[in-house]
């Protein structure tokens, strides 16, 4: 039986499912219990599973992460929430310094199957810390998996996979599209793979590569381009680490052209890693330079300038046209 739900409801549904299926899954974070989370992602879970498994913690982010590390090494499966990605910096100490390295450091004897959930990205009219898109900082870390859903169905399936993953997973939720669309999602407990890009639309002329909330504008751009007779292949990367290079390369070997779209600043971001991969291993397939449509190398501005910061569908269309016109 499937129900039509939003992305944030799909997060809730996956948590509900997995907590019901596996008593080792526990939730912790600031206001995840009584208040049901700042974005209501954990609503109803305290009532259903009780305070032993849904824990409101004091305000202390590095503590939350460290607790998750300790519990995870003992066979529990903690899912910790950080209210906004901008509060994740103190968490880095535990997550990068310990969670990511536990398996390697102990030569496989201890592992850290935790999930750290955080809403991320701009477009909600909030400045700085409340609009960050710093996924590249995390995606660079060996040992961490970084996963970003872009639809309710993928939020459900990927979060299940993240919780079941034997490795620590940073699960970044694009809050701009938390409630943007509803989609039928079947609560069937089926996880999606954590090592595969999702080809959302097949096409032959150009590959548009994106993730998170920008998938929305990317699909809009593909629609516009389709009106011009351009056939776009649209790929949602979804798992930034480990990156499914094969799907990306296969697509570009077919289309010969690629535009990478992300809202994070351009310098040193995931777009650069993907572009490097495509040129290292797909150079002979490329018929035009790889284009990037990204945020700017600046601090996320307050709302008046937000639209100028955030890539728009028209920017993607322009970049695609330029790429297509390259002789």
């Amino acid at each position: 039986m499937s129900q039509s739900i939003t992305l944030v409801e799909a997060v809730n549904l996956a948590l509900m499912h997995e907590m019901g299926a596996d008593e080792n899954v526990v939730l912790l974070g600031e206001d995840v219990g009584v208040n049901g989370g700042v974005f209501r992602a954990t609503v109803g879970l305290l009532e259903r599973f009780g305070p032993r498994r849904v824990m409101d913690t004091p305000l202390a982010e590095n503590l939350i992460a460290g607790l998750a590390v300790g519990m995870a090494t003992q066979g529990l499966k903690p899912v910790a929430e950080i209210q906004f990605m901008g509060f994740i910096f103190p968490v880095m100490e535990q997550i990068i310094g310990h969670a990511a390295r536990m398996r390697n450091r102990t030569r496989g004897r201890l592992s850290c199957p935790l999930v750290l959930r955080a809403p991320f990205g701009g477009g909600i009219h909030a400045p700085e810390h409340h609009s960050e898109s710093t996924e590249a900082l995390l995606a660079q870390i060996p040992g961490l998996r970084v996963v970003i859903p872009s639809s309710p169905a993928r939020a459900y399936g990927l979060l299940l996979a993240a919780i079941r993953s034997p490795d620590p997973v940073i699960f970044l939720e694009p809050k701009r599209i938390y409630r943007a669309v509803k989609q039928p999602v079947e609560d069937n407990g089926q996880a999606l793979p954590l090592d595969t890009c999702f080809t959302l639309r097949e096409g032959s002329d150009i590959t548009l590569i994106s993730w998170g909330a920008m998938v929305k504008e990317t699909l809009e751009a593909a629609d516009t381009l389709a009106g011009d007779g351009v056939s776009c292949e649209v790929i949602d990367v979804a798992t930034l680490n480990l990156l499914d290079r094969d799907t990306l390369l296969a697509s570009v070997s077919k289309t010969g052209r690629a535009v990478i779209i992300h809202e994070a600043p351009r310098h040193g971001a995931m777009g650069a890693e993907i572009a490097a991969t495509l040129s290292e291993r797909g150079l002979l397939d490329l018929q035009a330079p790889i284009a990037r449509v990204t945020g700017y190398d600046t601090v996320m501005p307050y709302y008046r300038m937000e639209d100028h910061y955030m890539p728009q569908a028209s920017d993607i269309v322009d970049a695609a046209r330029q790429t297509l016109e390259f002789a």
Partner: protein, 332 residues
Amino acid sequence: MNEMAVPLPDDIDGAHALELFRQMLRIRRFEEKCAQMYSSGKIRGFLHLYIGEEAVGTGVMQSVAPRDAVVATYREHGHALLRGISMNAVMAEMYGKQEGCSRGRGGSMHLFDKATGFIGGNAIVGGGMPVAVGYALAAKMQQNGAVAWCIFGEGAMAEGEFHESMNLAALWQLPVVFCCENNYYAMGTALDRSESQIQLVEKARSYRVVAEEVDGMDVLATEAAARRAADSARAGNGPYFLEFQTYRFRAHSMFDAERYRSKNEVHEHELQGPLRTFGARLEASSLLDEQRRAELEADIAREIENAVAFAESGTPEPVSELGRFVYSEVQP
């Protein structure tokens, strides 16, 4: 008029008492206007109102000297106004206009002003504490007699930064006044659900910091406590901790289901609100009457209308400035 109100002490400076009332009223009305502008979409993002807690900032700010620094939180509109940032500049900032005190870049949570030593609003809980200690360390090294005023909510006391800051400030005897605005809830988490020791002064004392509990709803009490703290810090006796017991009348930010407290609880506190109780005492002492009240309200309303007009007619930052101020424009 509240017939139970206790008149003010005989030796009170009536004009000063009335001024304290005016300052509280000014920030109350300003924030009510902000809430309205938020609802009509003129202000976006987050908006954390100080309504109910005005006696704390108002009392504290009386002892803040020009050279001092104030390090506040995202609930800092009142402190910014009290510190002397113009209402025009604060309102324009909320609107995201260039004429704002952070040139429209910070908004409600990031009010900054170099001239008045307002070292921010800070959107990160606890993030201002080490900064305030650093300011105090600079003041001590530069022997300029300045004090750092570190303002935070009780929720921040669970962060490591609180403990690190208290320890060092005490160890190095730095001139910082820690002002805890205890409104009993950190977003939806009640104090006793997040602190093992809810006698917050005991935490400070464990670092050998002088600590006082203060009735944060009584502006005379907050003013007197802040004066003691300032005198002590300026005399070189190191840090001071003040726990102001207060209450937030509105939601945490503009959206908050308030599942963690009852309407009745909020109402009980509103009856003890700082404006209501102090206003009644002023009346009992014949320092305030209907007419004086109306005059105060009219003056404040005028200032607010001007600030709104100023913000409305302000200019957005040109898009070409999007990349400015990330790095210095002076080449090293």
